[in-house]
């Protein structure tokens, strides 16, 4: 990550300016032209540093009050194929392989399911279970009870030395 890319991310992480020429405004802030900002953002999209650029809605405020983190114990030698299938479901917003912590935590596949109601989350989870079929050894839905903290990813304008303490 070079310095210009870092500056672009830091300058836009709270959002692009809502003005007719947002990229030139960002460029002015960090001392490059609008073209450089756009080229660099395109480059970061192409190489996967940026997943997407868009209008980011607040699901919770829009009525998607129920979010269920579904967790699945599936055989390791099938997880690639199963994960791909679950990741393609339209209602799954994140789908990751994560490590188990045996014996406390047997689950290795995590899929986030959003719904307007709890029932909607149950129905969608059932679809995943059907899709995974016999590969499911165990699963659970962890409904969200409370949002305790939520802030976007924060990058310091310049790299900071590691902080002491918590």
């Amino acid at each position: 990550m070079d310095e210009i890319n870092r500056k672009i991310i830091a300058a836009t992480q709270n959002g692009l300016p809502l003005t007719p020429h947002p990229y030139s405004e960002v460029g002015n802030q960090i001392g490059v032209t609008a073209e450089v900002v756009m080229d660099r953002m395109q480059e970061m999209l192409d190489n996967g540093i940026i997943r997407r650029i868009g209008i980011i809605p607040n699901h919770y405020k829009l009525g998607f009050k129920s979010n269920g983190m579904t967790v699945w114990d599936v055989p390791d030698d099938q997880i690639d194929q199963l994960g791909e299938a679950v990741g393609q479901l339209e209602f799954v917003s994140h789908c990751y392989q994560r490590p188990r912590h045996l014996p406390d935590w047997p689950y290795n596949l995590f899929a986030m399911v959003h719904g307007k109601t709890r029932n909607e989350v149950f129905t969608k989870t059932e679809e995943i279970r059907t899709l995974l079929g016999d590969a499911v050894q165990a699963y659970e839905i962890l409904f969200s009870k409370q949002i305790l903290k939520k802030s976007g990813f924060r990058l310091q304008q310049t790299p900071q030395p590691p902080k002491e303490g918590l």
Partner: protein
């Protein structure tokens, strides 16, 4: 402004531009063209939706692990202790999401640090301070192509008077 007061344009703005936002000199003018309204109307509408909290921001979603190193961490904390442990977790500046979930493993949060070593340090210190185990679940594979989140508004649109069924947002 509530979600059941959304106009057709509001809903299109929220649902159709979650990815492929134009990288061109006047991106809002391009949105305006698609919606057949003016550039200034697009900007005003985004401002309005943002101040109502329905839009978080217009911008980039960064891929985890490309800048810094992050993990999803969890703790199993008995109910009477939850409040004090949450306070400790939320004081950590590197924690950017923290949810309480309905499970014995009830506190789930994302920690992003400069590198893996620093991340381990933060988690170890949290264990020490809270006296509860911290389980770390770093992403090993990502199976989802992130194109945003379908808000599930059906096409074609019905007239504004019946635009949103009251039950749809209950």
């Amino acid at each position: 402004m509530k979600s059941n007061e959304l106009s057709l344009h509001d809903r299109r703005l929220l649902n159709e531009f979650q990815h492929n936002f134009p990288l061109s000199s006047r991106p809002y003018a391009e949105l305006a063209e698609r919606l057949e309204i003016s550039e200034s109307e697009v900007i005003t509408q985004i401002e309005r939706l943002q101040s109502a909290g329905l839009i978080s921001r217009v911008g980039a979603v960064i891929q985890p692990h490309t800048i810094g190193y992050s993990t999803l961490a969890a703790m199993a904390v008995p109910q009477p202790e939850v409040e004090s442990v949450v306070e400790i977790i939320n004081q950590i500046p590197q924690v950017n999401h923290n949810y309480e979930r309905e499970n014995e493993m009830n506190l789930w949060f994302v920690v992003t640090a400069e590198d893996e070593q620093h991340l381990d340090q933060i988690l170890a210190q949290l264990e020490q301070e809270s006296r509860y185990s911290v389980y770390s679940f770093p992403m090993e594979r990502d199976f989802h192509i992130d194109l945003g989140f379908n808000l599930d508004w059906k096409h074609p649109y019905t007239p504004p008077s019946k635009l949103v069924h009251p039950a749809a947002f209950s």
